[in-house]
């Protein structure tokens, strides 16, 4: 394991990139997800259609393909970002956003219809019903699934290596090639990921219990 301890700085840098990539992408994905879920439960048919097409297309396309299309394909229509990091945040947000949208929508389905009816009879409009009554309850009921999406995002951020962004997995790949110590380097990287995903899961568990709706 010497090779890991000798290169702790590089592992730490890789982990740092993984973490910032994950956190920024999660913010983007959450915003996209809530907006798209709102479109899909709203009364305006064309917007529901847009939401559905987005979710179905993105969910059924591999993340690696999205990275390739965005990074290798889009420059020919003039969409090009200087920074690999920003490109990666965009792709990861768009991808994860589709799953967040589906999860939030599943959460909306768990809110009792009486809640909507009561809010309507108090005279609230659609956005008030959604924002003040339905979404707060819906989000509370899907904290667990959103948490597994977050863990999945930590793991998925490794696919940014498609476009040469060197995060934790990229660091491991480079180190293993330069030192030829495959087992030690990959074991180190796997443990580093576990050091991120396991605490994240534990935190989600705590939040889930805190906000659980008691009936």
């Amino acid at each position: 394991m010497d090779v890991v301890f000798d290169n702790l700085d590089r592992f730490a840098a890789g982990m740092g990139t993984t973490v910032s990539l994950t956190v920024l992408s999660w913010l983007g994905a959450f915003v996209i997800g809530v907006v798209v879920a709102s479109l899909r439960v709203g009364p305006i048919l064309p917007l529901r259609g847009v939401g559905t097409v987005y979710v179905e297309a993105i969910r059924n396309c591999p993340l690696t393909v999205l990275f390739a299309v965005f990074f290798f394909g889009f420059p020919s229509i003039g969409i090009l970002f200087e920074s690999n990091f920003i490109s990666s945040v965009i792709v990861l947000s768009v991808y994860t956003g589709a799953f967040v949208a589906e999860t939030v929508r599943a959460g909306v389905n768990t809110v009792a219809p009486g809640q909507v009816e009561a809010a309507r009879s108090l005279g609230l409009g659609f956005s008030q019903v959604l924002g003040l009554v339905v979404l707060p309850q819906a989000l509370r009921s899907v904290v667990g699934p959103l948490g597994s999406l977050f863990s999945a995002l930590i793991r998925n951020s490794s696919i940014a290596y498609t476009i040469g962004l060197v995060e934790l997995t990229g660091t491991a790949q480079q180190l293993s090639v330069s030192t030829a110590q495959f087992v030690a380097v990959f074991a180190g990287a796997a443990l580093a990921y576990l050091a991120l995903t396991l605490p994240a899961g534990a935190v989600v568990g705590v939040i889930e219990r805190r906000v659980a709706i008691k009936r």
């Binding site: 389905n109 809010a119 290596y161 995903t197």
Partner: protein, 290 residues
């Protein structure tokens, strides 16, 4: 599709606003598509020859060969994953503590880090350790090991979702524990799991695109080569994306149909706590009746 959250029938004012909103949204969406197409056209990306290369017989064969490689890897990976998943699920439900512990460790470990890392290790690390296989099997190994851990959780949830009375009754009529699992519990649990298993197959199929990183000639790698060779990277990659989406939509349709049939005949399907990463299982949450 979920019903819109508007409660009862809308009044005249509400209907008018929905109508206006619909028109604005429709015009806006069409305008966006037009802007995108004009952008393609302005950069010459709509030129016929860039797209028509894609339907030349040689290119079509090359693409379909890539798709076949993708499907082959997914099929082999799925067989391995189901085998591993079944063993690990039974391990986690075993009465022997060390077995439970080992299976739990396996599941938690392999779900905790990226599949890409696993496959890079499999393809570049294993040969150094003297394990030399064709490239295909390194990819399949990675897919099976990772998805086996996820399937183990699905299987376990499916088995646990069954009423305890089923296995108790089986033991009471004199079946051994193995017989009760094989003859009573598993046949019923498998039906409940079917939609989630097909859902995981979609995840696995998408995961095969990681073969791209280890030079396995699957669909994405083939599309990339075509694009580089013919100078139509954007078009080739979009075509590959469309193929992936088409195949997965068909599989999702199958999953949904299984789920509906399951719900009609036997009540709920399983919901996996912590879920497979792509959460087809969330959709199978019991409360979808409204």
């Amino acid at each position: 599709m979920t019903a819109a959250l508007v409660g009862d029938e809308l009044g005249p004012r509400g209907r008018r606003r929905v109508m206006i909103g619909s028109v604005v949204a429709a015009v806006g969406s069409v305008a966006l598509v037009v802007v995108a197409l004009r952008r393609f056209a302005a950069r010459g990306q709509l030129d016929a020859e860039l797209w028509s290369i894609l339907i030349e017989p040689g290119v079509v064969r090359f693409f379909l060969g890539g798709l076949a490689n993708t499907l082959k890897a997914a099929a082999a990976g799925m067989v391995g994953a189901v085998a591993i998943g079944a063993v690990m699920a039974l391990g986690r439900l075993s009465r022997r503590r060390p077995l439970r512990w080992l299976a739990g460790l396996y599941v938690e470990f392999f779900r905790g880090f990226p599949l890409l890392l696993l496959i890079l290790f499999s393809a570049y690390g294993l040969p150094r350790l003297g394990i030399r296989w064709p490239l295909f099997w390194y990819l399949v190994l990675g897919l099976a090991v990772y998805n086996g851990a996820v399937l183990a959780e699905i299987f376990r949830a499916g088995i646990l979702s069954l009423d305890r009375g089923q296995s108790e009754a089986a033991l009471t009529v004199g079946l051994t524990e193995g017989q009760s699992m094989r003859l009573v519990v598993l046949p019923q649990a498998l039906r409940r799991m079917a939609p989630a298993i097909v859902g995981q197959l979609i995840v696995l199929l998408k995961d095969t695109s990681i073969g791209y990183f280890v030079q396995y000639p699957e669909l994405l790698r083939r599309a990339q080569s075509t694009g580089t060779f013919d100078g139509n990277t954007l078009q080739a990659l979009l075509a590959a994306a469309a193929l992936y989406i088409a195949v997965n939509l068909i599989l999702s349709r199958v999953a949904r149909r299984l789920e509906v049939r399951q719900r009609r005949r036997y009540g709920g399907t399983i919901q996996v706590a912590g879920g497979p990463e792509d959460l087809v299982a969330v959709e199978t949450a019991p409360d979808r009746s409204r």
